[in-house]
């Protein structure tokens, strides 16, 4: 049986998803403030790493780097609701790309697995 990453479409799917996903994030009033004044090219790179991880692909994410990367955002008020909004945008992106509902649910679970580290709980 093929892996989730293969079923979604691998690196090509990450490429296809990243602009749609990041556009949704920037346009979402609930979370867009966290992305003010960031370097867009660098942020797109980070989003691709995040999507690769969430799609079950090869990644170098670990709990410490996740915690360190989001510490300053938690200090600015990043909480559960913001995290849920990001996952919601991710699910909507995949829905637009025609990814099967059960695969979207699996992506949601992987993304959810880093919730504690992102929110520095």
């Amino acid at each position: 049986m093929s892996s989730l990453y293969e079923r979604i479409g691998g690196a090509a799917a990450v490429d296809a998803a990243v602009d749609i996903f990041y556009r949704k994030v920037l346009a979402d009033d609930r979370i867009s403030d966290f992305f003010e004044d960031v370097d867009m090219d660098r942020q797109i790179g980070k989003q691709k790493a995040f999507l690769t991880m969430a799609f079950g692909g090869p990644n170098n994410y670990d709990g410490k780097s996740m915690r360190d990367a989001h510490k300053h955002l938690v200090a600015r008020g990043l909480d559960e609701n913001h995290f849920d909004a990001v996952v919601e945008n991710l699910a909507n992106t995949l829905g637009e790309l025609g990814v099967a509902a059960e695969d979207i649910a699996e992506v949601g679970e992987i993304a959810g697995s880093v919730r504690g580290d992102v929110l520095n709980h």
Partner: protein, 282 residues
């Protein structure tokens, strides 16, 4: 990221890179398994002397400097060079964008704005004279004409002397027989600082697909000068930038804001090329 000076890096080693970087043979060494000889390196620090062949005022704030280097220097329109200057026994390095085109202009051409309190720009404006020599480093920069299809619509936008590289990129597009529409927006503090408007009027009359959109921020403008901000002007032009290629040059705040704006209007993140002019600290 490294650049191959000779030879082509394997496509797999360019995975995920923007078009302009791919076309200039940049690659990711961590995933590169060369299939043929590759010469990599960086000669951007190499110094050459150049003679000032011409200097004149483009506007009250901008001088144009023509430089003839002692050796032939390959470059792409839109790149920038470092000038190395010694002023009052102090050494300075400043980056300036090239407005020239290697296939059209004999000399390297810079358009340099007088910066408030800027030592180097004041020295160039007031002291540097035709016939004198300056030291420069090799042209670098990745914000260059990078179209895959000549049919693609182009949006070029800059403020102040952000116009200089755009003038090169525009002429490179025309030089490559670009067929899609090209819209160039220039934002300036006042009408006098729209310093290439005559050149653009001429280019517009000889190129059907080229449109020049001057935008001034303050003073009441005369006929043809839009009072709206560049973002509003773009909105009048197109509701979506999907499929467009976008080139943005000028101060970092302007570039970042417009980059985000164009992305939200549908331009692909891989098709927005930026050149931010960062001010020197001294």
């Amino acid at each position: 990221m490294l650049q191959a000076l000779h030879g082509s890096p394997p496509p797999d080693s360019q995975r995920g890179l923007k078009l302009n970087l791919k076309q200039q043979n940049f690659f990711l060494p961590c995933i590169c398994f060369p299939e043929a000889d590759l010469q990599i390196g960086n000669d951007s620090r190499k110094q050459v002397a150049a003679t000032v062949t011409r200097k004149f005022a483009r506007s009250p704030l901008v001088v144009e400097l023509h430089l003839s280097p002692e050796t032939d220097i390959p470059y792409r329109a839109g790149q920038h060079i470092n000038l190395l200057c010694r002023i009052d026994d102090e050494d300075f390095v400043r980056s300036y964008s090239l407005s020239s085109h290697p296939g059209v202009d004999e000399d390297l051409v810079l358009q340099i704005a007088l910066v408030d309190g800027g030592k180097v720009s004041a020295w160039i404006h007031d002291s540097l004279a035709e016939g004198e020599s300056v030291a420069m480093q090799m042209p670098v920069g990745t914000c260059v004409y990078s179209c895959v299809s000549v049919e693609q619509p182009l949006l070029l936008a800059g403020v102040g002397t952000g116009l200089a590289p755009l003038y090169g990129i525009l002429r490179d597009a025309l030089h490559n027989n670009h067929q899609g529409p090209i819209h160039l927006f220039h934002g300036a503090s006042n009408e006098q600082e729209l310093y290439l408007n005559r050149e653009f009027d001429l280019l517009h009359s000889s190129n059907d697909g080229f449109y020049y959109h001057p935008v001034v921020r303050s003073e009441a403008g005369q006929r043809g000068i839009s009072q709206k901000s560049i973002e509003e002007s773009i909105a009048c032009l197109a509701t979506s930038l999907e499929g467009w290629q976008v080139y943005l040059c000028g101060n970092p705040k302007f570039v970042k804001q417009l980059q985000k704006h164009c992305f939200l209007l549908g331009a692909s993140s891989k098709e927005i090329f930026c050149d931010e002019f960062v001010s020197a600290q001294n």
